[in-house]
């Protein structure tokens, strides 16, 4: 299994082909590597972002799905029948979810992969 890890300067996720950098709300590096259910960051606009242990992936082809699940220690939670089929995958920790998403984003058979980030959505 590939060991998923990120250094403190590499807290980010991919959106529309660009890295979105995150700042840990706790500077405790041990905490951000823990297997707690969620971690809190601030995005580049200072907005709070919560990272849990799941990620969302759209595959161009699912031919390598099982191989990816094994390589990153993931399991399928469900497949949403929208957007051409979006998989919700479970990782072992928030950092593993973010790292796996970033690695999968680079794969040619993956259209996009993102941690299942939660943030405040504003009623208008």
């Amino acid at each position: 299994m590939v060991v998923a890890s990120l250094s403190a300067s590499e807290y980010y996720y991919m959106n529309n082909g660009k890295k979105v950098y995150l700042t840990p709300q706790s500077l405790d590096g041990v905490q951000t590597r823990s297997s707690g259910s969620e971690l809190r960051f601030k995005d580049e606009n200072g907005k709070e972002v919560v990272v849990n242990s799941r990620l969302l992936v759209k595959f161009n082809s699912t031919e390598n799905l099982e191989r990816y699940l094994s390589a990153y220690g993931l399991s399928v939670v469900k497949k949403f029948e929208i957007g051409g089929g979006i998989y919700l995958l479970q990782a072992s920790s928030p950092m593993s979810a973010m790292s796996a998403a970033n690695e999968l984003y680079k794969k040619p058979d993956v259209e996009f992969a993102q941690p299942d980030i939660a943030r405040k959505r504003v009623l208008r």
């Binding site: 995005d43 949403f80 957007g83 959505r121 504003v122 208008r124």
Partner: protein, 385 residues
């Protein structure tokens, strides 16, 4: 038979100066013709013309300035004569059998003005059908739903499309909302086969994943005709002054981004703007939009309604978006053949070019501050039958 129409709508462009509205200020009307190209509209096998409804028995109807011109009410509050969406006249198409989904915080399913309209409900957090408010802050979904779907039942107000079938999807706006919860909401709307989706919310930072879900529903929903998805454009920041829309859900080209107008038929100061903006509708500023409230003392106000002059009155692009959603439902009843792109084109082509000096429309009839103008129900309906 389909045919391509290029219409030249003569718009009464209003130049309004001074405060007070309702004829008290200095006004001048300048007629202008702006070309607008409509797609082919399939007018084959349309349903027969239904009998017209009369909403006057609903006791709060007179104060629904956004959708109804009441001479006394307009005069009392010096509301500009053209401030409504011009829904008066022929109330034949009122959303019958059109499936409208509202994605919002909660719904009081026992409200007297929504009885008979709610078909299905779903909570993305609990995966249950329980969408009742779970804390005292969750009144927004009630307010949005009433604007669209309040029944013509002589009890309270009347929605823009009071005969729609309402589908409600609850999201946890009191806390953070995850990407997967939003994707699930749109997947549920797709599963239910809804025709129109109202989203009076946004993130200001839409993710690639959410965008993929929304675009899929917009393009492929309704059996390939496309689901009409309406988003509130947003109300600026803490300073209550409108901001650029930016990378928001409402910026997705396949959705309708709605800004807000006031009783003076002008863009409200808080309404977000930009090249992504599509349409305007009344959202209220000094006067709010009368709508349904949680039943009894649990809501924003005592009683079952939150009225236009309440300190808690419903205002914002959240109030403007469901007005456009209701109009879209009316169009789809009038002509079920319409595709999502047809509806968007018709609404834009038939919109009133309000406040020409303040909005600054270009040669294509577009303004970054007012989109293609304020939605006009009767003008839109005239293009689809």
């Amino acid at each position: 038979m389909k045919k391509r129409n290029t219409i030249f709508l003569a718009f009464m462009l209003l130049f309004f100066t001074g405060c007070g509205g309702g004829g008290s200020g200095t006004t001048a009307y300048v007629a202008s013709s702006i070309p607008c190209t409509l797609p082919d509209i399939d007018k084959n096998n349309l349903p027969p013309l239904p009998a017209a409804s009369d909403f006057s028995a609903n006791p709060l109807y007179r104060q629904q300035w956004a959708i109804h011109y009441d001479q006394n009410f307009y005069g009392q509050y010096r509301i500009f004569d053209d401030a409504s969406i011009h829904m008066d006249g022929d109330q034949r198409f009122i959303g019958r059998s059109v499936k409208v989904a509202v994605i919002d915080d909660a719904l009081d399913i026992y409200h007297e003005d929504l009885q008979g309209t709610i078909v299905q409900t779903y909570d993305v957090s609990t995966n249950s059908s329980d969408v009742l408010p779970s804390d005292g802050t969750q009144n927004h979904g009630m307010e949005v739903s009433g604007v669209i779907a309040a029944r013509d039942n002589s009890l309270g107000l009347v929605g823009v499309a009071p005969e729609v079938e309402l589908y409600f999807i609850k999201m946890p706006f009191s806390n953070t909302v995850s990407i997967s919860e939003i994707v699930e909401a749109f997947a549920k709307a797709k599963e239910w086969g809804v025709d129109v989706v109202n989203c009076s919310w946004g993130s200001g930072d839409v993710s690639e994943t959410v965008k993929a879900a929304i675009v899929d529903l917009a393009r492929n929903g309704r059996g390939g005709k496309g689901t009409v998805i309406v988003f509130a454009a947003g109300n600026g920041g803490d300073d209550a002054v409108g901001d650029p829309i930016g990378n928001d859900e409402s910026s997705i080209p396949e959705v309708i981004a709605v800004g807000a107008t006031n009783i003076y038929n002008q863009r409200t100061e808080y309404s977000n703007y930009g090249p992504e903006l599509d349409l305007m509708a009344p959202g209220g500023e000094r006067l709010g939009i009368t709508t349904t409230d949680r039943t009894g003392v649990e809501g924003d106000d005592p009683g079952n309604y939150v009225e236009y002059n309440s300190s808690s009155a419903f205002r914002g692009t959240s109030a403007a978006a469901p007005i456009v959603t209701g109009v879209a439902a009316r169009l789809l009843e009038a002509n079920p053949n319409l595709s999502r792109t047809d509806v968007m084109s018709v609404l834009k082509c038939s919109a009133d070019k309000i406040d020409a000096s303040g909005c600054g429309y270009d040669q294509n009839g577009f303004s970054q501050f007012c989109g293609y103008g304020k939605v006009n129900v009767n003008a839109a309906l005239s293009l689809v039958r």
